[in-house]
Symmetry: C2
Subunit: 407 residues, 2 copies
Amino acid sequence: MIKYLNLKLNKMKAFISMFLGLIIGCGVFAQQSLWGGQQIVSPEVNDGQSVTFRFHAPDADTVMITGDFLPTEKLNTQWGEFDVPGKALMTKDEKGTWTFSSEALESNLYSYSFIVDGLYTTDPNNVYKIRDVASVFDIFIVGGGMGDLYTVQDVPHGTVSRRWYDSPGNEMQRRITIYTPPGYEHSKMKYPVLYLLHGMGGDEEAWIALGRTSQILDNLIAQGKARPMIVVMPNGNVAQQAAPGESPKGLYKPTMQLPNTMDGKFEETFIDVIGFIESNYRVEAKKEYRAIAGLSMGGFHSLHISRYYPNTFGYIGLFSAAILPNQNVKSKVYDNIDETLMTQRENGYNLYWIGMGKSDFLYQSGVEYRAKLDSLNFDYTYIETEGGHTWSNWRVYLTQFVQMLFR
Amino acid sequence: MIKYLNLKLNKMKAFISMFLGLIIGCGVFAQQSLWGGQQIVSPEVNDGQSVTFRFHAPDADTVMITGDFLPTEKLNTQWGEFDVPGKALMTKDEKGTWTFSSEALESNLYSYSFIVDGLYTTDPNNVYKIRDVASVFDIFIVGGGMGDLYTVQDVPHGTVSRRWYDSPGNEMQRRITIYTPPGYEHSKMKYPVLYLLHGMGGDEEAWIALGRTSQILDNLIAQGKARPMIVVMPNGNVAQQAAPGESPKGLYKPTMQLPNTMDGKFEETFIDVIGFIESNYRVEAKKEYRAIAGLSMGGFHSLHISRYYPNTFGYIGLFSAAILPNQNVKSKVYDNIDETLMTQRENGYNLYWIGMGKSDFLYQSGVEYRAKLDSLNFDYTYIETEGGHTWSNWRVYLTQFVQMLFR
C-alpha cells in the first residue's frame, strides 16, 4: 500500500488524500498496518493445500495456533472425555512475525484462533470470521474438493432474505432466514421447500453462516445435483424473537442455554412457520415437496415435528440428532411417540435419513433410536461418518441430503 | 453456567451431555470460559451511560483500550495531520482482569479494540463485530438518544435481501443489498426508492452493517418520521462482483484501493441498477419518487449520477462527499459538469442536500463545490456537523436525509 502511495503521489493527490483519510477513518488496525507494521497475509492457502498463518507480535513470548485442522486432543472432564481442537507452536522470525504452516489439508472449511502468551485472539489479518454462539472464529477454505461447494462459484446465485413473520402460537414476531433459488423471482413455477433447523445455542443465522447453505445450494443446483428449492431457516428457540443483536433485547452476550428449549413449544408452533411460507412464497404445498432436517437439537425438532404433523413431510433428515425428549418434560408433542411413529410409517414418506459421526457424544442415543425404528419396521437410511458433533459433518450431511430431495 | 450444570446434573443428564458437547463443539473460546477462565461481560453499558470494558489477561503487562468514544489524538504524517481515536490504560485487578470504565457517553454506536502489550486485539467477550474494509472492530450501542435509532426496537421490521442482478454494462452478475419496508410483501402499493451508495473500500454490505440502515428505516417509519421506502445498496466498485468473500474470488484480504474506481464506469452503468429495481419491485418509477445519496466516494457517485441522468432523481444527498473527478480521468460522465448541473437545475428537483463535518479532510472540496453551485444559482441545503469523515456522521446524515424524502 505504501509503495502504491509513493508511486502515485504527484499525479493523484485528490485520490490519495481521500484514500488516506478513509484509512484513518477506518481506525486502529488500518493505522497499524500503514504506520506500525507490515502487510501480512494470513491465512494463505498454498499450492499443495498446505496453509500458512502469520501473526506479527515481536514482543510475545509464545504464539500458538489452535484449529479444527490440527489433530484433536483429549480433554478429560467430570462429564467424560472429549475431543477438542489441537494446538501447534508458531515460529518467530527476525522481524517478529510468527508463522505456522500446516500439512496439506483436505478440501474443507476450517476455523482457528491464535493463542498469544496464553490468550485466545482472533487473526487481525483475516476478516472472515463466524460467530458460533458466544464465540467468534476465523475461518478459511481449502478448495479442490468439498471446500469448493462451500465457496461462491461463478454460477447463478439464489437470494438470501432476512424477514420477520408473525407467530401467533408464540405471540411474537420472529425473524427468519430464507434462501430462494436462482430464477425464483422470474419464474411462475412452484418450488419445493426444505425447512432447515439449527442446534442448541444457534439461531436463524447458523445454517447460512456456519452451514454455508446458500453456497452449497447454489453450487449443487448449478451442477444439476439438487433440484431448485426454497430453504427456510427459522429460529428454533421459542424464548427469543431473533438471533442475538437482531431483536429488541439489544447487543447482549449470547448463551448456549435458553429457557423453553426442547419443551415441545417449537414443534407445536411450527405450523406458524409453514403457514407463513406457504402463504408468502410460490411453493408446492404438498407432503412430497416438503422436507425437514436439522442438526443436533434441530434434528430432535425435525424428528418430533415430522411425527406431530404426521402427514406433512415427505423427507426427514436427522443430523447428529438429539433423539428423544427428557422424560421430565411434559408436552403433548412428546406423547405417544411409538404410536405416532407408526402412524407416520403408515402414512408413508419418501426418505427418512439419519447421519451420525462415529465419535459423536450422541452416538449411543442414535443406536437406541435406530433400534426403536427397527422394532417398528420403520424404514430409514443411515449414514455413519468419521468425526463427531461438528459443523464439518453437518455441511457434509446437508450436501448429501439435499441431493436426495424431491426426486 | 457451571452452577447451572451442577444444580441440574442428576435430573437432566441427557440435556447436559448435549449442552456440554455443544459447548465443546464450539471450540476454544467456549472451553476457555468453561474451564480456564471466568464469565466476563464486556462491554457493559451502565446506568448513567458510562460503559465498562473487561479483558482477562493475567500475564499481560499493559492493556489499553482504543475507540471512537475516547478523545481523539492528533497523528502527524507526511500527508498532514489527522484525528485518530484516542487510547486509555485499563486497570488490572487481583484476578488478572483488566477493566476500564468510560465517562457517561452520548447515545450512539461506538467501536473499539484492545491493545494488549502493544498488539491490537478484538474483545473475546463481545460477539458484535463489524468489518470496515480489512479491519474488524467490536461495537456497542449506548441508548437513550440517537443510539435508539440504531437498535432493533419492538416495531414492524422490513426485509433485507441479498440478491444478484445482471449488469450488462459491466458484463457481470453483481450482488446487491435491498431493504423493503414493513408491509411491502402484503401491499399492492408502489414504493419510492432510495439508492444508497458506500464509500471507497466499502461494498454492498457497508450501509447495512456500519450504517445500520435497516434499523434506522424501521424505527423512523414506525415513528411516522420517514415514509415507507425501498433502500437499494449496490456495490459501487465496478471491478468487483460482490463484497469480499461473496464472489468467486474467494476469501481474500480486502483492500481499500481497487482498479476502475471513480473512473465514470459505475455512474455510466448505474442504469443497470435502476433497471433491475424497477423491473423487479413495485416502485413508483418517477423522478419525484427516486432519491440517490452516498457517503464520500458514494457522494461523488451520487453527484455525478444525478447529473449524468439529469431528469431521473428528485432527491440527491451528498454525505462528506468527494466532489469533483480527478482531471486525469477521462470519461464522458465527467464532461461538461457545469452545463449538466445547469440542465439539472432547469429540470428541477425536490432536494439537493449536502452534509459535511467541520473537521472532514474533504471540507475544503466541499467549500469549493458549494461556491460552484452558488455561481450557478443551484439551490441546495447544507448541514455542517462536528466531527469528520466518520460513520457516526453518516448515520446521522442518513437519519436526517430520509426524513425529508418523498414528502
